[in-house]
Symmetry: C2
Subunit: 237 residues, 2 copies
Amino acid sequence: MRKQEVRTIISRRDRPAKEPLSRDSIASAALDILLREGLSKLSLRRVAAKLDTGAASLYVYVENISELYGLILDQALVSVELPEEKSSPWRDRIKTLLLSYFDVLVRGPGLAQLALSTFSPGYNALRICECLLGLLKEGGVDDKRQDWGGDMLLLYITASAAEESKWREAGESTNRLRDALRSLSEDEFPLVSALSMATRYGERHKRAALALDAMIDGILASPIRTELTEVNDHTNA
Amino acid sequence: MRKQEVRTIISRRDRPAKEPLSRDSIASAALDILLREGLSKLSLRRVAAKLDTGAASLYVYVENISELYGLILDQALVSVELPEEKSSPWRDRIKTLLLSYFDVLVRGPGLAQLALSTFSPGYNALRICECLLGLLKEGGVDDKRQDWGGDMLLLYITASAAEESKWREAGESTNRLRDALRSLSEDEFPLVSALSMATRYGERHKRAALALDAMIDGILASPIRTELTEVNDHTNA
DNA sequence: ACCTGAACACCGTTCAAGT
DNA sequence: ACCTGAACACCGTTCAAGT
């Protein structure tokens, strides 16, 4: 009897040797698997095994696997660095921010895929988004253009990271594709085949830098159209 | 005996009632399933069942499921319309082309996902790419900018289609996300929350049109830099 | 409230065996 | 050469049963 009482007390304080499950510990374990072995090796069962339980146990903390995907992504986005205020011209800070985001996505095989398929944004995604909008605002971009402009920049860089990830994950078979492109086209696709010669592994970063500049120029140059639905607004006339 | 001989002859001509498997028939059956039931319901086993065989039979025509994904995507891209030559200013034709591509991707749940994850481009992807490059060329865009510019336009519109697909597939839960955004942010994410008010289902098309214009402007405005690696090239000096 | 094992209804892929 | 059934090694998710 006494023994049991003592055990109970001890268990309260010492149990966290095997720390209890939590959304955070699950997300970390999952991200760890993804980083090490890739998205294809990630499963609820593997995550559970890593945490010394059965898959069913995770359902207390997570509704389904796609919610887990969301947690993983946001866990990964923690390491995107927001540029310090006024550290450089706003334009450069946008590029720094987005290229840091690009690097984080590309470091984890499948992360860019997740970013493109996850529906509800997590805390860190919002942080990045807010920062980007702030920088556009600082550059004198009005609300409307912040909306589609920020969206454009983020979508482009995410897709760009997905593209880069494909090349990295393809590994060996990369050369087969290059050969295929070189041989097939020429006659029917002169422009494509002229280009594909230049495409190289890792060149994405350079392309992205050029593209981001062009997009920002485009946002700034875009004409301010008075919305048709606001024809009664006299303040802009 | 005679009966068997007759049977053999008949079988040569009449057998195609159940037409033999082929890459094309497999791709069509697969696209059909995707269009009707979504990417998540698509599997080698389902495709095989639809074709009255076992999954193992498909491996004669297809190396693995990701090759099948590639076939599906290209099958879907058949219906992207290339704008007729000189039918309108090159700028408008680019927008027509890319918005048609957008529509096709968005019509099949999961197609945009496939476009973003498929590694080697199929015939129809090349067709679209070639057309886009031709239009940029027509607009006076030089080779270098065709490269990253075309890439930029294509990646953006594909990611945009993926984003739109998510909203359509989310269906009901769409409102939950909007509520979540509205309540959570405000203090910590003033800019994001100000924006999310405006985001509506189906508004992507309008956003895409604005974004494409901005990108094209950006491409045209981008300074022609002499490549550092070509400092010996005197023809540009 | 949390955890568990077993079960259900699926997967992609391989392989020996048939024609 | 093509097709097949059965098997292998996995999945996500549910549920009754335990604490």
